[in-house]
Amino acid sequence: MKRIIALVLVSVTLAIALCGCGGDKTEGGSSKITIGIPQDLEDSLDPHEAVAAGTKEILFNIFEGLLKADSNGNLIPAVAKSYSVSEDALTYTFTLRENVKFHNGNTVTADDVVYSILRNADDGSGNALISAFLNIDSVNIEENDIVIKLKAPDPDFIQYMTLAIIPKDQSDAATNPIGTGPYKFVSRSPQENIILKRFDEYWGEKAYIEDVTLKICANADTIVMDLKGGSVDFFARITTAQALQLEGSNFEILEGTMNLVQAMYLNNAVKPFDDERVRQALSYAVDPDEIIDLSFDGKGTKIGSSMFPAFKKYYIPETADVYDVNIDKAKELLAEAGYADGFSFDITVPSNYQPHIDTAQVIVEQLKKIGVTANIKLIEWDSWLSDVYSGRDFEATVIGVDASTMTARAMLERFVSDSSKNFINFSDPEYDELIKKALNTYDDAEQTKLYKDAEWILTNKAANVYIQDLAQLVAINKDYTGYEFYPIYVLDIAKIRPAK
């Protein structure tokens, strides 16, 4: 008997002792980093096929276009050395940079560039992966130059030239990405990690850190544990509550903005939200400041239309003050609309994103004050995509909408009546007219004005109950430094470097 107990004790001690080797701690200043990401890239790794924002922000490190974005939101030359646009805005000429290498060792040729562009252009049946490329008339190679001719001028076209350049003869792009970026892809283990390695033949300034492990931290509730425990060195999107818990630890918290429009998006086609007064009443009742205080510890920027502050050129700060909390006014509007006794509706929220759930929880409380009962309905992200976004079968939803390219068009074109992305069924002839005009205006100042007018319409018609641009809190181990925020959704790993 004693022997058995002894055996148990030995095995337990042994097992516990073994755990000593469990923690794979990174040494300070060493050339590797573990970056936590909130979800796996359940996606194709082909840069042209990938759709999730989370995938694109990682692929940013692996791929480059002729041009790429810098942290100020400007486009800088990458695979192209320089470019010029003709007087009539129809011809774009890109000069290829010499000796840019793919991760497989091959040099980028003009053929690769043409292949990459045409892959996204008209497939012969009038469809294109990038709809703006339907406007391409021809792509030709002239010596070391790539010449793109458009059918009609498009002031936003240059933004699409960040399109990833890929080798023309690759067949397994979906699982084995090969690009020209500062990091090359090594492996991925689903729901576990993605491993990147510095690309030493990179044409530009090489990355600082050699080995990068992107660890999937799918359980948001254990992120603090991972950070404090030392299994993750960097996490780009922590919540304010998590940030508070990291106080006094070995982490620095950097604050930027998420660059998205968080709102309670209302289905403008269903009762009672088809009535402008009801939408305005909700806007008067919902207090973004209280939401920011309660759920986000005061971090976040209140907004009033479908544009966020980082787009300085298009952003109108005054829109945020149109609907200052006014319960009486809200009740009045409801009464006018025939809902003096209030009504009840569902707020559909994707279950995988806690900040939106937290926001919805506060909204429910705020709406009680005007006699409106809101019920939170949690659904899976995929059901959200198919039911709410594609199916438009919802009453209200709390979500953040961001811009896929650095253009006002990316934010505003979706609310045109017949847009396939207009999931809120917003319909306003004046708005449609403004956007149509803006898309065909090549003068920058004039175009900006048109977009701003459109933003005012969204505010005045209370298309949605606008809330905030969320604060982006980044936790970075003090052993590392150099992280830079971008106005678009990317995570630039190449800039991160050891602190010492």
């Binding site: 008997m1 058995i4 107990i5 055996l7 148990v8 095995s11 097992a15 516990i16 073994l18 755990c19 000593g20 080797c21 469990g22 923690g23 794979d24 701690k25 979800q39 796996d40 359940e42 996606d43 194709s44 790794l45 759709v51 999730a52 049946s125 469809n127 992966l129 979906a174 699982t175 283990s189 689903p190 729901q191 576990e192 999937i216 931290c217 799918a218 359980n219 254990t222 544990m225 991972d226 425990g229 030392g230 299994s231 993750v232 279950s351 995988n352 899976e380 992200w381 995929d382 059901s383 995509l385 198919s386 039911d387 976004y389 594609s390 396939s420 992305k421």
Partner: protein
Amino acid sequence: MKYALKKTATMIITLFFVSVLVFFSFSLIPGNPAISKLGTEATPERIEALSHEMGLDKPVTQRFTEWIFGVIRGDFGKSYSYSQSVTSLLSDKIKTTLLLSFMAIIICTVISIPLGIFMARKSDSKLDIALSTINQIIMAVPSFFSGIILTLIFGVAFKLFTPGAYVSYKTNLLGCLGYLFFPALAIALPKISMVSKLLKDTVLKESEKEYVRTAYSRGNRTKAVFYGHVLGNALIPVITFMGMTFADIIAGSIIVEQVFSVPGLGRILLSSISGRDYPVIEAIILLLAFFVVLSNLIVDLLYHKFDPRIHV
């Protein structure tokens, strides 16, 4: 032998039923996985093209036959989300989860059997009462809660392991086993209580039996009687019970994997459910059902061998 054949046949029929249920219930679900995959960039044309690529435009029965024949060959199709074969996707995850489950079973066996014997021999002593009370309480702690408590004690307070710092068994087997010890313990704890209690009860019951009394009355008060006869017989129901809890242990590991951030089947199951990655969900369910049915079969056969009177 005939018994074994009959049982195996039943098992195959059960698995067939499972696969039919699984496949057709997924076909009834509203929503198109192609839309999920395309996300906010879905256009009618792209959805149609992708549906065709995924084979979703074929009739259900044809898809089922293709799928089932693939499964027999060990080919579960291609994951919608990851654009790679389900088999290659899951092979690591299965090993991780099985490793965790087996560790839980080993921990359970190593602790509960000596504990049960000890409690039986010291029956009704103060120590036994204390142990039984603790047992009763531990039995009521759900594994995810004991997981949190274990993290709090051993991870946060004593720093014996780094929460979340799972290392793959491929890179560092010892480190992996060391990390998995705590989740395995969380899964095993309630089972330890149950098994040791059951063993104590059966040992006591067995000791009351005529043959044991006879042996004792003949002056055979040695350990030989206990270990030779009593324990041998008392272990039969215990083995059955442990076989039956295998399903529980696997289910437990799916939840506990979440607490300890272990990238096993549980994680990939949850993510593929939310990603509507049907080929992956189908494969996981079928595999888990296979393990459960197989463990039941093994228990049945063992039981049959030990006690050939049972005819089911």
